[in-house]
């Protein structure tokens, strides 16, 4: 095990300021790639509230007014990253937004429009600044307002319940990855593309891949069957179009992230992704029959997708880090979510790579025994022949191998709670 690998990084908890538990909306979702990611229409941002105000006053009024007219209802949520705010402080911040032309009535229970104010207090829980490092304000667009892609399974509830925070988290991820104008960003587990939407709003050009043909093509929506097909990719591309960032769309492809399709060169300024968490068939890759250890797990026949095998969690991250080391520009960042089983988590479980340095590692609790960690890594070295052999050994011995049991541990906890086999709440918190 290479002892020169740098493990110093910050670990901390994310404190969420939720002003209303009613906001825990149950969402019908099933697999990672069918999950309905919420989206966040960014209206303004800045390093101070004064900068935010300037930014917001520059946002076209005609884009704001449809959501603020006097017959509508709304609510403003305040979210803070790495800090807990008192109720009174949250109210102060909401009141400070009175320069915006809100004409409608406030409704906490069932507002038509939801706005979010997001404050980022950095990554060090031992050194929380008095003022935020960055502030965002925007309109939350719940995927519940778009047509849901329904699966055959029973309704599931998700644990964190806070889908608008997820939308805000896309921006925090883009920020951690230092996404900026004219960057080229890639998401290897793109799903419905919400991370790309966030990056596009920072002025980056975006591309993504996903192993699921139907999600990439946006199939399964009944409205499409009667609709004449108008053009390529009515899903992710249409999402970008909705936010006026279609010009940032490069491409999406159906592809297996474990078998990268890119030539070996430093192509991307950032790789931002939320890999599948390994619950039943939501992790897949192409492979041969003889490699399959659990034959009834995740095998199906589909004209677009070859027979697949269980894609072990540790392999996902091995492949992700290896691919990032190859395809990121020097100094480019990888930002991804790592699912952890909290009772057994230790810092050594964070996957490492000799060409990537861990910048930060922060936990978002999902339940009493599960969490996910937002890991940020930066490319510090080009991969050489030697490194790729050495690191493969390292990662093979990585304690994260134990996380292949994440699936079993997750469900054993779950079965105690629900006592039902077919109840499979979605860990991704959608």
């Amino acid at each position: 095990m290479a002892t020169t690998l740098n493990r110093s990084c910050n670990q901390y908890l994310i404190h969420l300021a939720q002003d209303n538990l009613d906001f825990r909306l149950p969402v019908t979702s099933f697999m990672q790639h069918y999950s309905c990611r919420s989206a966040f229409e960014l209206w303004g941002h800045g390093q101070t509230h004064s900068e935010l105000k300037t930014s917001l006053l520059n946002y076209p009024l005609e884009n704001m007014l449809p959501f603020m007219h006097k017959d509508s209802t709304y609510k403003i949520n305040v979210y803070t990253f790495n800090k807990t705010l008192e109720f009174a402080d949250r109210i102060k911040r909401i009141d400070a937004l009175d320069y915006l032309p809100f004409e409608g009535a406030v409704s906490l229970k069932s507002p038509e429009h939801i706005f979010c104010l997001l404050e980022d207090y950095g990554t060090d829980p031992n050194n929380i600044p008095e003022h935020p490092n960055y502030i965002y304000f925007g309109r939350w667009i719940a995927d519940g307002q778009r047509e849901l892609i329904r699966s055959h399974s029973v309704k599931n509830r998700h644990f964190i319940g806070n889908t608008s925070m997820d939308a805000g988290l896309s921006f925090i991820m883009a920020n951690h990855a230092k996404v900026k104008e004219n960057d080229l960003v890639f998401d290897p587990f793109v799903g419905t593309g919400s991370l790309l939407v966030a990056c596009s709003q920072f002025g980056a050009y975006v591309c993504g891949t996903d192993i699921d043909f139907n999600t990439i093509h946006g199939k399964g929506r009944s409205s499409r069957k009667s609709q004449k097909w108008r053009g390529p990719d009515e899903n992710i591309r249409a999402n970008l179009r909705q936010y006026g960032t279609e010009k940032m769309y490069v491409d999406v492809m159906v592809s297996d992230a474990s078998k990268p399709v890119w030539r070996e060169a430093a192509l991307f300024d950032a790789i931002i992704t939320d890999p599948p968490y390994g619950i039943r068939e939501s992790t897949r890759r192409t492979g041969s029959h003889k490699d399959i250890s659990k034959p009834h797990d995740g095998i199906y026949v589909d004209s677009h997708v070859p027979v697949s095998q269980a894609y072990h969690l540790s392999d996902i991250f091995t492949d992700l880090l290896h691919s990032s080391a190859l395809h990121l520009v020097m100094g480019g960042r990888l930002v991804y979510w790592l699912p952890v089983y909290r009772p057994e988590y230790c810092e050594e479980m964070v996957p490492l790579h000799p060409c990537l340095r861990v910048i930060s590692n922060c936990e978002q609790t999902l339940s009493s025994h599960t969490a996910r960690r937002l890991i940020t890594m930066e490319k510090i070295k080009e991969p050489e022949e030697l490194d790729s052999l050495a690191h493969m050994e390292d990662l093979h011995l990585s304690p994260y191998q134990g996380h292949n049991a994440f699936r079993e541990k997750y469900f054993s906890g779950l079965n105690k709670r629900c006592g039902k086999e077919e109840d499979r709440p979605h860990v991704n918190g959608q």
């Binding site: 043909f213 490069v250 297996d256 997708v305």
Partner: protein
């Protein structure tokens, strides 16, 4: 599929060593107007395999006046950047397939989206 993407794609069929660039057999190609951004084009040029770009543009009949080699000082040459912008981002393959130059394996493109999945024997 845009030619920027094509320029970065390679065949990953098992055993193939010369899988780049993929050949393009297009049955439907569309021109799509995209806002010209000279900074982005300038940033992408060093990452491109120029000869592969020319070959792809020619395959699609969209090469026009694109030179066979990179011009020096291209960052300031707006006419040149506009040509590159057009070929990288405005030409889109809607239907057709990509073909591995060594194995001949085809990867279909439907509705502008390439399907790069391999079967278990090829992976």
């Amino acid at each position: 599929m845009k030619l920027l993407t094509h320029n970065m794609l390679t065949s990953h069929v098992k055993g193939v060593t010369k899988g780049y660039p993929l050949l393009i057999k297009a049955t439907e190609v569309k021109m799509n107007e995209v806002e010209f951004n000279p900074q982005f084009v300038s940033r992408m040029i060093p990452k491109l395999e120029w000869s592969a770009l020319i070959q792809a543009a020619e395959e699609l009949g969209h090469r026009q006046d694109l030179p066979g080699e990179l011009v020096p000082d291209y960052e300031k040459d707006e006419e040149f950047l506009k040509m590159v912008h057009r070929v990288l981002l405005e030409v889109e393959v809607i239907e057709g397939f990509l073909q591995c130059p060594e194995s001949g394996r085809e990867f279909p493109i439907t509705r502008g989206i390439p399907n790069m999945l391999l079967n278990e024997e090829e992976a």
